[in-house]
Symmetry: C2
Subunit: 111 residues, 2 copies
């Protein structure tokens, strides 16, 4: 991984919600997908991922169910809820604003 975790901090939830917006998924798959999408520049640590799931489910932004795999390890699938979708939209807005603010504050040419 090339960037530090503090820069990604606070985005984990949004990243997960985004993945679930496309379709239900499970931990391992989500993480693989993230690695692919970023061409290996970023991966969620397992502990981070699963603690995010717990947090998101506790606050009602996602819900989960066990898959009915007849073979292989069991998978816990997650679904984004209505309030999860709202939260995603809000987080995206917040991100766009934060991006602007941070740029203003740290860009060299400054204003």
């Amino acid at each position: 991984m090339s960037i530090t975790s503090d820069l990604l901090r606070g985005h984990t939830d949004t990243i997960i919600l985004k993945q679930l917006l496309k379709s239900d998924s499970y931990g391992y798959e989500i993480n693989k997908s993230i690695q692919e999408r970023t061409r290996g520049r970023y991966e969620l640590k397992e502990a981070t991922l699963y603690s995010a799931f717990r947090r998101l489910e506790e606050t009602g932004l996602i819900s989960s169910y066990w898959g009915d795999e007849t073979t292989g390890a069991r998978r816990r699938y997650y679904t984004i809820t209505g309030s999860g979708k709202k939260m995603y939209a809000k987080n995206l807005d917040d991100w766009n604003e934060a991006k602007e603010i941070i740029d203003e504050l740290i860009k060299e040419e400054g204003k």
Copy 2:
């Protein structure tokens, strides 16, 4: 403040270093400057600011000296060091990369 602190997390040091790049400054002034630059959308909490100073000084990225105010409260001024400048440049690069990665991961239209 409109954006959450987790989104700003990890940028505090860079924001401070950026301010000191222009000229030596002190805590209160830096914070005021941030509020102005962001038109009130962001301010560092005092505890955050001063603990960042301590951290930056301990790691040699800034150094400090007491101002010789003949009036008003005493001010502790901070100067950015050589390694502070390098760190600033590195953090800026990291930010540009992180920005790209996060956008890829959370933007609606996806990839």
